[in-house]
């Protein structure tokens, strides 16, 4: 009892959870009723099974006192630390299972095994053990199950492992092992399952000697750098049902002799360098259910024999060079579930029996030369979940049933020659992506698209759709991307778009859409791209677009818009090409504006007009105008005097003046644009470069008080891994922040650019540490604490030595006494980086 209670306190760890019924009691055998404990007749503990609890402590040395233990199962907990050597006194053990603890560490103490002569099961899968594999195994004459997989061992598999004659299961998968391909394991004549691949790396190939392991049922040597050819001797393994050799560097042909594997159910040879054809002899693999051969250099016709295999469920052969047609009888066995033959050179018709058994879930035929229509039968295939038939030569109408399948999540028919109209009735609760781009579809876009409650992506571009965009589309609760460009769509943009808050990208360009841009468009907060160019839209540009801080791409060009392009806010991000080709649109900074002939005002109130009213209105308007213009002139006089005066505030000694900074605000100096402002590179007279950030949307009045205070605090921050704010230049209207210049740009640009590959792990790790230190300083060493509020790879900048510096406090805000203070900004982070909840 005492032993168990002590064990409990170390096993549950300092946080103290779990094993609640392990409590002190005076009864001598109370401990036998603890959960997970069982005793023999003398109340001695013989079995301790605490799995999936989870416990966060360590395994204490006192475990060694339970000398009668037969079964010790401590699986799927969160134990840490090393195994105690005292476990060597557990000489009665038959089962030792410490798998899936994740954090058990240190070398595995082989000496504890020496006296466990009765041990039958040793399972250490998925822990943190390291060092060499323990060689002390050959004494375990009864061992049947051995797993050291999922650990961080190194070195070779000890030759002595070939002597554990009783062994039936050997799991050394994902254990970090190396050395020569372990041919000596062929001495384990009783072996039924062998897993020795996954992140082990051997020299040499599949040992031909393995052909002698006649009881073998599973051979898994995937992903362990095997070379050479597949030995024909494997065909002797009459009980083998699983052969996994994928992700290696195997070469040569697939041996026709493999058809001798009469029990084979699963064959995976994908991601190798195999060449030649699929052997005709495979027709003898009467039990096979899975054939995966993708990413090899196989060629020729896929044998008709594949279609004959009675139990075939999965056939994935993408990225090979197969030619000619698919076996016409494929799927006729009624068992096919997954078919992926994309990226080959296949042609002919799509076989019509693929879904004969109503089990087909995945149909992927992309990037081939299939022609003809999609067989009507597939429109009734209720089991389908994915349909991807991109880039083929298919034509005809798409079976209406395809858009009414209950389980389908994606329909991708891009780049074919499909024609005809979409069905009027459509439904599907889980469909989230529809791609029909670049076909010959015609007719109206059916309002029934609104019946897909989970639709997120709708691509209908480059077809011949006409009529309106149904308002139902924008009533979809999850729609995030829509593209209907290059069709013949007419009518207006439905007002419902203003309430479709999930939208990220909208492209309605190159149609004949008319009417005005919905005024409520600015309610779509996350919209990043809005392209409605090449239409016949009229009216003025809604000023609300200036508040759409996520909007980085806006194209309103080649419409019939009029009025002035609004100033300020997000409009600073767009250049003139966004508005080109609108004859009556007046760009900012343009002195004279074109006016529409025969029209004096945007609003017509003719119905209200009577002669007397006109006179009164005109007089009132003229008086009003005179008064207003006088007032504006007066105000401007004052304002100009003030606003002309730029003031430089420096947080350290600066050898330049505000004039030097202002000179750099030219188009050609722009190095970045974002929601928070435009960034210019400025070369100062003393050969020092600075980055100048021009803040967006800070008008007069509101900005000053809080802004100055915030900026003063930021200017005081001095840390090696934070971009230094050197000072700022401001007048009444504009604020320019001056930062040290980082010549190597942002981590985001570098990592996601073409040179991202040069950024090797050591640099990435260092950048991570440095950025973390910068943020840590803001959170824990500043008073009051500073939140960044827009941490992202584009805000981690790299200096000339690639040292990382956290940047962009345009959004930072202070927390006073743990509560939110007066807010400066309405933006809180970038899409993809925002914490849930």
């Amino acid at each position: 009892m005492e032993v168990l209670l002590n064990l409990k306190s170390s096993m549950i760890g300092p946080k103290g959870h779990g094993l609640h019924d392990w409590i002190h009691s005076s009864s001598p055998d109370a401990h036998c009723s603890f959960s997970g404990v069982s005793c023999d007749d003398d109340a001695r503990v013989i079995s301790l099974n605490v799995s999936f609890t989870p416990l966060f402590g360590t395994i204490s040395p006192e475990i060694g006192m339970l000398t009668h233990l037969v079964n010790l199962t401590l699986a799927a907990n969160n134990f840490t630390g090393e195994l105690p050597l005292e476990m060597k006194s557990l000489t009665s053990l038959k089962v030792l299972n410490i798998s899936n603890n994740g954090n058990l560490t240190g070398t595995f103490p082989g000496e504890i095994l020496k006296a466990m002569v009765d041990l039958e099961v040793l399972d250490t899968y998925n822990n943190n053990f390291n060092g060499k594999l323990p060689p002390e195994m050959s004494e375990l004459k009864k061992l049947k199950y051995l797993s050291f997989g999922g650990n961080f061992f190194s070195g070779e598999i000890p030759e002595s492992y070939g002597d554990i004659q009783s062994l039936e299961y050997l799991g050394l998968n994902g254990a970090g092992l190396s050395g020569k391909s372990p041919a000596f394991l062929s001495r384990l004549k009783n072996l039924r399952e062998m897993y020795i691949g996954y992140y082990n790396s051997y020299t040499g190939g599949v040992p031909p000697e393995f052909g002698g392991l006649t009881k073998l049922e599973i051979l898994d040597m995937a992903s362990c750098t095997l070379t050479g050819e597949i030995p024909t001797s494997l065909s002797n393994l009459k009980h083998l049902h699983t052969l996994f050799l994928h992700i290696n560097n195997l070469t040569g042909h697939i041996p026709p002799e493999l058809s001798g594997l009469v029990s084979l159910k699963s064959l995976d040879l994908s991601i190798n360098q195999l060449t030649g054809e699929i052997p005709q002899s495979f027709i003898n693999l009467g039990n096979i259910t899975l054939i995966n051969l993708f990413r090899n250099n196989l060629y020729g016709q896929i044998p008709e024999a594949i279609g004959e295999l009675p139990k075939l469920e999965v056939f994935e052969v993408w990225e090979n060079n197969f030619t000619l047609q698919l076996p016409a009888n494929l799927g006729r066995n009624g068992n096919l579930i997954k078919l992926d033959v994309s990226d080959n050179h296949l042609t002919g018709l799509i076989p019509k029996d693929l879904c004969r058994g109503e089990k087909l879930e995945m149909l992927i035929l992309s990037n081939n030369f299939f022609f003809g229509p999609i067989p009507e039968e597939l429109g009734k295939c209720k089991s389908l979940t994915k349909i991807r038939i991109v880039k083929n030569l298919l034509n005809g109408t798409v079976p209406a049933g395809l858009f009414n399948l209950p389980l389908v999540t994606i329909i991708e028919l891009t780049d074919n020659f499909f024609s005809g109209e979409l069905p009027v009735t459509m439904s599907g609760d889980v469909l989230d992506q529809i791609y029909l781009s670049n076909n010959w579809f015609s007719g109206e876009i059916p309002p029934a698209i609104g019946n897909f409650p989970n639709l997120q992506t709708l691509f209908l571009d480059r077809n011949r759709f006409r009529g309106n965009i149904p308002r139902e589309i924008f009533e979809l609760k999850h729609l995030s991307r829509i593209n209907t460009s290059a069709n013949n769509i007419t009518g207006g943009i439905p007002d419902s778009i203003s309430r479709c808050s999930t939208l990220i990208s909208v492209d309605l360009s190159r149609n004949r859409i008319n009417g005005e841009i919905p005024k409520g468009i600015n309610n779509v907060k996350n919209l990043g791209t809005l392209n409605i160019s090449g239409n016949q839209l009229t009216g003025s540009i809604p000023t609300g677009i200036g508040n759409m801080t996520s909007l980085t791409t806006l194209d309103l060009s080649f419409n019939d818009l009029s009025g002035r392009v609004p100033l300020g806010g997000q409009f600073l991000v767009f250049n003139e090409t966004s508005f080109a080709g609108n004859t009556y649109l007046c760009l900012p900074h343009r002195v004279s504006c074109p006016t529409r002939p025969g029209q004096t005002s945007d609003h017509n109130h003719t119905a209200l007009f009577s002669p007397s009213r006109i006179v009164i209105t005109v007089i009132a308007a003229i008086t009003g105008l005179i008064l207003i213009s006088v007032a504006i002139r007066q105000m401007n006089k004052k304002k100009n005097q003030k606003s002309l005066a730029w003031k430089l505030t420096a947080f350290q000694k600066l050898d330049f003046k505000s004039e030097d900074v202002l000179e750099c605000l030219k188009e050609e100096n722009i190095i970045g644009k974002g929601g928070a402002g435009i960034v210019y590179r400025g070369s100062m007279p003393n050969n020092v470069d600075v980055a100048i950030k021009r803040l967006v949307g800070r008008g007069t009045g509101r900005s000053d008080h809080g802004f100055t205070a915030e900026i003063q605090t930021l200017g005081r921050i001095r840390h090696r891994h934070i971009v230094r704010l050197l000072g700022y230049v401001a007048n009444k209207d504009t604020n320019l922040l001056l930062y040290e210049y980082m010549p190597n740009g942002s981590l985001g640009e570098l990592l996601h650019g073409s040179k991202g590959g040069h950024l090797q792990w050591e640099t990435r790790h260092r950048v991570a540490v440095e950025a973390a230190k910068g943020l840590c300083y803001l959170h824990h060493d500043c008073s009051p604490l500073i939140l960044h509020r827009d941490v992202k790879s584009n805000n981690i900048l790299l200096d000339s030595d690639f040292e990382a510096h956290v940047a962009d406090f345009g959004l930072a805000k202070f927390l006073v006494d743990g509560a939110a203070s007066e807010c400066m900004s309405s933006i809180a982070g970038s899409y993809g980086y925002i914490a849930p909840g």
Binding site: G176, A620, C776, H779, V791, S826, A828
Partner: protein
Amino acid sequence: MSTTLVLTKMIYVLIIILFLVCIEYAYTLKVDEKSDVYSFGVVLLELIAGKKPVGEFGEGVDIVRWVRNTEEEITQPSDAAIVVAIVDPRLTGYPLTSVIHVFKIAMMCVEEEAAARPTMREVVHMLTNPPKSVANLIAF
């Protein structure tokens, strides 16, 4: 007539201001330093996978969701298996232990529950104290 127009516009502006204030308030309530930690976790995943946080995984799937999906698809999940499945293929050789270590930290940072995320101080401590382990196990 012009007075009614001015009045209408004033009311309109007032409504917009109220609306903006509401939005701001909604945002400020949510944001604390654990939000920064979450974002930093996303940056760590970006460094491991070499992928942008959104846009490469299909609709509605960001990098965090993608990693979790990948995790679910692996038949025998272990930390090593997941890391190898998501790691940036442009990395020519990398110490698997170190990547796994950073991966584990990243996943702590992007916990759904803000309280379950570590502080930045803890993150720095973990990043700079890798587990004592094998002399760099190099994958591939």
